[in-house]
Symmetry: C2
Subunit: 162 residues, 2 copies
Amino acid sequence: MQLSEGVEWAVHCATVLAALPPGAALPAARLAEFHGVPPAYLAKHLQALSAAGVAESVRGPRGGYRLARPAEQVSVLDVVLAVEGDRPAFSCSEIRRRGPSAGPDGWYPHVCTIARTMWDAEAEWRRVLAARTIADLLGDIACAAEPAAVAATVAWIDEVRR
Amino acid sequence: MQLSEGVEWAVHCATVLAALPPGAALPAARLAEFHGVPPAYLAKHLQALSAAGVAESVRGPRGGYRLARPAEQVSVLDVVLAVEGDRPAFSCSEIRRRGPSAGPDGWYPHVCTIARTMWDAEAEWRRVLAARTIADLLGDIACAAEPAAVAATVAWIDEVRR
DNA sequence: GTCCCTATACTCGGATAGCAAGTGTCCGAGTATAGGCGG
DNA sequence: CCGCCTATACTCGGACACTTGCTATCCGAGTATAGGGAC
């Protein structure tokens, strides 16, 4: 149960994209430069965001990525699932039905208790992430971060978009 | 974010071990046979349970594995962490401090909002799993399962322990 | 001066290697038991 | 008949291959822009 490193990158990138002026886009190479990560590999994850409908891509000069919806309508869960895939973390292979004491299908009318417990836990995990939007993250950063850091970031975005 | 297959096996095995008479043990090979999984590979996960102090092993004839504590004191989380390792699923590499707009350490007095969100979600996930014990699972199965299935399992355990 | 066309450069997208971790297996170390032997 | 000893068989534990998926990279496809030329 280890989340891919790309999840962290993708959420940070989504937060930066949320800070862009409406309609503007930022290339993958600039996002990679900003975060100090390999550009070609980050591009792969941004493609995943695009494929999932979280971000949209604009080709050509002045192109790049931007959020496909207002930041208030993009949850952290959306970003995480876009990168990690939406398969459940726990998959029940019904091993209770195998082995010597296995019986006919009628013996197992209810879903496996163990699977349900795991799925309950994952549902809680998703609930927390779904309740938090990229706009929330951006707001927190704007409030809690050092003003100079925010100013530097805004200046950098203006610089590279020139 | 995909849990290892061994997690399912380990939780099922822990539930079976909880159904044993006090002091008795069940060999890894019998547990593998019961669940229809590769014996040598299941042994690896049972070793993990033993190393984590969730189960304890008894060598020699009449040996095997048994729970190290009463089933009421073994949570599902204990079993999952024993197999998967207790590293957090999300690790923050502080990429906000890298890149062109990075500043001195004093610019980042608070923990990264994104990391906190991810950790909050994981804490909820753990909370659900920690609140559920192996004894709870066994009780659910005893109530919900087909009586014939329970009887067959108990009979099988008596058989192989003879 | 204005419009159109073309060449350019910039961007994404998918196809292609490398590597770590999970998956699967095996054989050696250690021990309780059962049987035989001696008293 | 009882106790001890030994050989046995059974179990766990860690060391050794294999496969899948994550990590990392590159080059081709597509497009907005800028510049030049014609009207």
